[in-house]
Amino acid sequence: MDIVSYMFSKSIFVGIVVGILSLYAISRQKSDLHTLLLTDLVECAMLVIIAAIGTDLAEALILPGLVVGLAEFLAVSEILVYRNEMRKNNSSNNKKLKLFEEFLAKEEPYVSTVNFNKMEILYSAPKFIGFILVLYGAFLTGFTGGAIMASGLLFYLLSQGAIGNGVSLKDIKHSWEAISGFSGIMWAFWILLGFAGFFLFPEHYLFFLVIAGCALALKVGSKLGLIGSLRIRS
């Protein structure tokens, strides 16, 4: 008897105990912020129950669960803050909030004084490092490859922004639309062509697997690369 099937019932038991305890605590809670914090515990219980299956499929189910959970927490905390603000001061203080304002630097203390023109590494290295990362990401394919590819693009664009020869705002607008459109087309390739192909023509599974992997890499890479163009100075 292997370890996964030996420990299956124990893992499920622990997950259900944690879930029941945290749900009971949520039901007794008055404050919204505490409820939000306790929701994190419920997510832990859910992840334990999925992980108890112990196969590759369970791992593949955990990854989107984590990302969706993060987006959920971000949205709910934003709504909570906004509602509290609306309730507290309706007209007195109409300050606009930026996302993650607390963690951003108030001013740039060093960047303006450093002379970037004298740093040779900013001109020669980023192209090489970005090229290597994009090549390696294309070789990996899939979600991980897309993330590595995007980190190469991000690195290149950020360093271009730092030495001040970024593109103008007008150019960005067009390239932004183009890159997000490209990402959408790749999403369609990944889901419609790749995934549907698995189920419709199982005998040609290798072909559709390659399509899905490459399309996912390009989609993730282009989508995350958009973050880099945000930083470019106009």
Partner: protein, 84 residues
């Protein structure tokens, strides 16, 4: 006993004890204390992932966990500012 089973039991122990700590630990009426207590069950969850050999899930959970802490700290700071 195998070291994998030991890791798994340590994960169960931290998960259940941490859950009880989050729900009725000392001074949890302060949201920041409750947020810090949440780290204990998440460490237990990471040990369980480690015992089940789910590398990608473990790495993604570590990354996501640090971002979730930022989100919660931001919500707590905002709330405190508004109540003060």
């Amino acid at each position: 006993m195998d070291i994998v089973i030991l890791t798994l039991y340590l994960g169960y122990f931290l998960l259940i004890l941490g859950t009880i700590g989050v729900i009725m630990g000392p001074k949890v009426s302060d949201p920041l204390n409750r947020l810090l207590n949440i780290e204990v069950p998440s460490l237990g969850l990471m040990l369980i992932f480690l015992a089940y050999n789910q590398t990608l899930a473990l790495m993604t959970y570590i990354a996501i966990n640090s971002i979730i802490i930022l989100v919660f700290v931001r919500a707590i700071i905002r709330n405190e500012e508004l109540e003060a």
